[in-house]
């Protein structure tokens, strides 16, 4: 079958993107990025055995074990955020310069591969790497959390028997305890970590299309990451306050910054989940759509810059 015919086949474009994504994923895996999982495992296990000093009062209703569960979630999700954002940015920042260095880019672009397919494939490869990494970390966290949850529940049952708690008290405490264990909301929080890293990967892709070095892409992307967390505050300060002395120029600048940079505060639902709050499905769907919007916008912007770039 000729190449022209292959290109017209249904899903040919998707298949092409998948091939590039698979290649990018393999390329990243060969860089031994999964070694960090060992460090994560260490953090997860340490958080499970680390005895926090407690300030329990005399009337505490045997709920001090809940703090250990919060600690495991807090440490694990913290490490996941750190690893995924670093991995998302650095992996993406490496891909384009590496393809130029290895001259793979010239080979690919010499073929009838649309540049958007090339970029989408590279980004999907990074996203696949992030997904696999987070899935492995999530699995480890869930196992640790479940193990600790069982211990906490056992201790509470023994305490309840010793103190002669009634059924209502036991049930109330059990509900509070289970909310701190592995829940669907916790999986939603892990997904929020993935979304944030995915957006950062898309931003790093955009930066790498006009940057000349990996270091520049990495530094600028990290700056964008922090701006993304501050920008909502700046926007509120300049746009929603009637403060005297706020100039029009400052307001326009705040509007421009908040329009161009992502607002990462949306993805801070992680904190509420660690505290035992529940995320509704509809909220999760909206969060997914928000992340998708960002990824699509920054990928299209990357393509716009990359479309006629000469190498």
């Amino acid at each position: 079958m000729t190449l022209a015919k292959t290109r017209k086949l249904p899903f040919a474009r998707l298949r092409r993107i998948a091939v590039i994504a698979g290649h990018a994923f393999t390329q990243l895996v060969r860089m031994k990025v999964f070694y960090f999982l060992g460090i994560f495992a260490l953090i997860a296990i340490a958080s499970n055995f680390f005895d926090l000093p407690q300030h329990d009062g005399p009337e505490t209703l045997g709920d001090h074990g809940l703090d250990f569960l919060r600690l495991i979630k807090s440490w694990s999700l913290g490490a996941m955020t750190l690893f995924s954002v670093v991995m998302g940015i650095v992996s993406t920042a490496l891909l384009l310069p590496k393809d130029v260095e290895d001259r793979t880019l010239y080979t690919i672009l010499a073929k009838p591969v649309p540049r958007i397919d090339y970029l989408a494939g590279k980004l999907l490869g990074v996203l696949l790497l992030l997904f696999v990494s987070l899935a492995l970390m999530d699995g480890l966290m869930t196992v640790m959390l479940q193990a600790r949850l069982s211990v906490v529940l056992e201790v509470q049952t023994a305490l309840g028997n010793a103190r002669g708690w009634d059924q209502a008290s036991r049930e109330s405490l059990r509900i509070d305890t289970l909310a701190q264990g592995p829940t669907w909301a916790l999986q939603g929080a892990v997904a929020a970590v993935f979304f944030r890293a995915a957006i950062m990967a898309a931003i790093a892709l955009l930066v790498s299309t006009f940057s000349s070095s990996t270091l520049f892409t990495t530094v600028v992307s990290f700056l964008v990451y922090f701006i993304g967390h501050f920008q909502a505050d700046a926007r509120d300060f300049y746009l929603n306050s009637d403060r005297a002395g706020t100039s029009s120029a400052a307001r326009y600048l705040a509007t421009a910054i908040s329009a161009v940079f992502p607002d990462f505060q949306l993805f801070n639902v992680i904190d509420a989940v660690i505290q035992g709050k529940t995320m509704e499905l509809i909220q999760f769907v909206k969060l997914t759509l928000a992340a998708l919007y960002y990824v699509v916008v920054y990928t299209v912007a990357s393509w716009f810059v990359f479309s006629d770039k000469e190498f």
Binding site: D56, F226, V260, L266, V269, K277
Partner: protein
């Protein structure tokens, strides 16, 4: 396309996409805030106090992680009896993790109990300053609990802790406020049954709530699991107060399983003067019971030492 045209077009495109995003992003943020899934932004004052590194970590969506480490710092302040630093640290902690009940419970307890006890027993300060330190710590603890209860209206634990503190005879008792706190806790329908009983115990000691107290005591008594000693004794006192003509012994026999059980429980209740429970009809009932049970005079409860009724005036006397 020429390169110098690209940048303005890219900027315009990103601005347009950002403008489009604003239409759904702001309402979604409000929705997440209303659902308690997004905390309000970290205050500038809090950022200054937790330091730049922690501030960046907190802004990076890891507020609970920073709160965990601040909790370790608070424990060190507790060990070193640095109560002002401890109070400030707990203010930071709850600013970062306002929905973690443990921090509210722990902060309030450290202030109202540990700091207050330190000023009462251990401090080398002069009596007047010890008393002021004791009083101030309790008020700080109360304010902390109240703030936590306001921020977490669906939680039962903070209100229960507040009610316990306000009805503690070693603290600055405020029985009407304690009853209201226990009621708020019990009304969440997630609190253990003892919280509703605690509401009754506080109500019974609040002036002007006698009728409501009797009504609640009668309702609680209907459930056998609520028939703990204090509730049974309190029901007797409230019944005798409402109908002084009714013989207390008859009331006691209607409430307690046997004369011996009534005597045991009422004896313990009688000596707990420090807790300021109503005592209507209790003395008469005990006298009658002792007669019927043929208890020798030397073993009479009226010969037992009553709880010390010492208060702040005695604790903080100039040494």
């Amino acid at each position: 396309m020429k390169r110098h045209y690209k940048l303005p077009i890219l900027a315009t495109g990103l601005l347009a996409a950002g403008g489009l995003r604003a239409s759904w992003e702001a309402p979604f943020t409000t929705e997440l805030r209303a659902a308690g899934l997004l905390a309000k932004p970290v205050e500038m004052g809090t950022r200054d106090k937790i330091g730049q590194t922690s501030s960046v970590v907190a802004l990076g969506g890891l507020r609970t992680l920073v709160a965990t480490f601040l909790n370790l710092r608070a424990f060190s302040f507790f060990e070193n009896k640095r109560w002002d630093d401890l109070a400030e640290t707990f203010d930071l902690i709850v600013d970062l993790a306002p929905n973690t009940i443990y921090y509210w419970d722990s902060g309030g307890w450290n202030l109202a109990y540990n700091a207050a006890s330190y000023y009462r027993f251990d401090s080398e300060l002069p009596a007047l300053r010890r008393r002021e330190g004791w009083r101030e710590s309790i008020l700080r603890g109360r304010a902390f609990y109240e703030r936590g209860a306001k921020m977490n209206p669906d939680d039962w634990k903070i209100n229960a802790a507040l009610g316990r503190m306000l009805s503690d005879s070693n603290k600055l008792t405020d029985f009407p406020a304690a009853a209201a706190a226990f009621k708020a806790s019990a009304d969440t329908n997630r609190a253990p049954s003892y919280v509703r009983r605690s509401q009754l115990f506080a109500m019974a000691r609040a002036p002007g709530l006698e009728a409501e107290s009797l009504d609640l005591a009668r309702r609680l008594y209907l459930n056998p699991s609520n028939r703990v000693a204090t509730l049974s004794c309190l029901l007797l006192a409230l019944e005798c107060r409402a109908t002084p003509d009714r013989p207390p012994l008859k009331v006691a026999r209607a409430i307690f399983e046997s004369d011996a059980a009534a005597h045991d429980q009422l004896s313990d209740y009688w000596v707990r003067v420090r807790e300021r429970y109503p005592l209507d009809g209790v003395a008469t009932a005990l006298q009658e019971l002792e007669k019927h049970l043929a208890i020798p005079a030397e073993k009479s409860v009226f010969r037992r030492a009553l709880q010390s009724a010492e208060g702040p005036d005695d604790w903080f006397r100039t040494r």
